[in-house]
């Protein structure tokens, strides 16, 4: 593919991320900004988006807990990650608690698809350089 094809893909991905979240779009664009070639920009942009999606997924929460557990001694292990909404009193521990590691959507397939796209683009860039 040529660099102007990549320019078109950059715009395509930007349009998608704008639809999903302005904050996400900004973050991804910031990470990619120092790359001059559209192909490099797209690669960094997609990597940032993928990383963000992974953090927002059940897989991301499980992976964070696994890494934490690796550094723990003794018998106790962290089995779940929950969030206590600000309106819930600090002493109260009830059904309002949100289980991130269980309630987050399973987006592993989405992350996988994006990683495939990144691999394809990387191969194309390497072939051309």
């Amino acid at each position: 593919m040529k660099e102007n094809d990549y320019q078109e893909l950059v715009q395509h991905v930007q349009e998608w991320t704008r639809r999903i979240s302005e904050d996400l779009d900004e973050q991804a664009a910031v990470s990619a900004r120092h790359h001059e070639l559209p192909s490099r920009f797209l690669l960094t942009y997609l990597e940032t988006v993928t990383q963000r999606f992974r953090l927002e997924s059940r897989d991301g929460a499980r992976s964070a807990l696994d890494r934490l557990n690796e550094s723990l001694s003794g018998e106790g292990r962290v089995t779940d990650l929950i969030v206590i909404p600000s309106e819930v009193e600090a002493e109260v521990w009830d059904e309002e608690v949100v289980s991130l590691s269980r309630d987050l959507p399973d987006r592993s397939k989405v992350v996988e698809q994006l990683q495939d796209i990144i691999r394809t683009i990387r191969r194309d860039i390497e072939r051309q350089s």
């Binding site: 953090l55 890494r67 690796e70 962290v78 779940d80 909404p85 991130l100 394809t120 194309d124």
Partner: protein, 224 residues
């Protein structure tokens, strides 16, 4: 090699699937969830370094929710119904690691208040390491390490907020000995001598390290 149209189709499929898999809980949005998961990644990194570089031993202390690690959306004091990590060194419990806890500011104490009575008297920290058995809002002298985490694009106001945290944790001082031998600091230019770290997913934080470094504040690009 994929054509432009093939790649466009693949991108459409991935993003359509992302939109379809929206969060099941309405109490917390996707980006908030990502922020909390990032805090756990950062806690994992802190735990790894304390273990490997400080020779500390960390143990999970269950709270009311059993094996669940609780992240508070709204901060608050230390609450022993909540889970935390107990930190041991040379066989003795020396400290504890808590998430989303507010500390009592230096200015609150300097004004002679025994407890926070104004909203400006406490500030939240994403991860905090304090003396063992600390109760309520930790005071600066009880804090070993404070950590802030941002899973967003870096903005300069984050740096200004961080410097405000440093100001309310410690006074600028000749180097004082911390509670650590190697990591994160053996000495800091701060009294009380707490370490302060800012983790960000944005690589641009490395362009802003000089000023905060003068006050013993670390800015680190950390990606899961």
């Amino acid at each position: 090699m994929s054509s432009l149209d093939d790649l466009k189709t693949a991108i459409d499929q991935a993003f359509t699937a992302y939109v379809r898999h929206s969060p099941t809980s309405s109490s917390i949005t996707g980006s908030e969830a990502g922020g909390k998961v990032y805090e756990v990644f950062a806690l994992g990194k802190v735990a790894e370094r304390l273990t490997c570089r400080e020779g500390m031993r960390l143990e999970f202390v269950q709270g009311q929710g059993g094996g669940a690690l609780a992240m508070k959306a709204g901060g608050g004091p230390i609450n022993r119904n909540f889970p935390h990590l107990r930190v041991e060194k040379n066989g003795s419990t020396v400290a504890e690691l808590w998430t989303d806890v507010e500390f009592q500011t230096l200015s609150c104490i300097a004004r002679g208040n025994t407890s926070p009575s104004c909203l400006s008297h406490t500030h939240e920290l994403d991860v905090v390491m304090v003396d063992s058995k600390t109760k309520g809002y930790p005071q600066p002298k009880q804090i070993w390490l404070a950590v802030e985490c941002k899973n967003t694009a870096f903005r300069k106001e984050q740096l200004r907020a961080l410097l405000g945290i440093r100001r309310e944790l410690s006074l600028l001082q000749e180097k004082e000995r911390t509670q650590f031998d190697n990591w994160p600091d053996r000495y800091v230019p701060a009294s009380p001598p707490s370490s302060l770290i800012f983790f960000s997913v944005d690589p641009r934080v490395h362009r802003y390290t000089e000023g905060p470094g003068f006050f013993g504040v670390h800015l680190e690009h950390l990606v899961p």
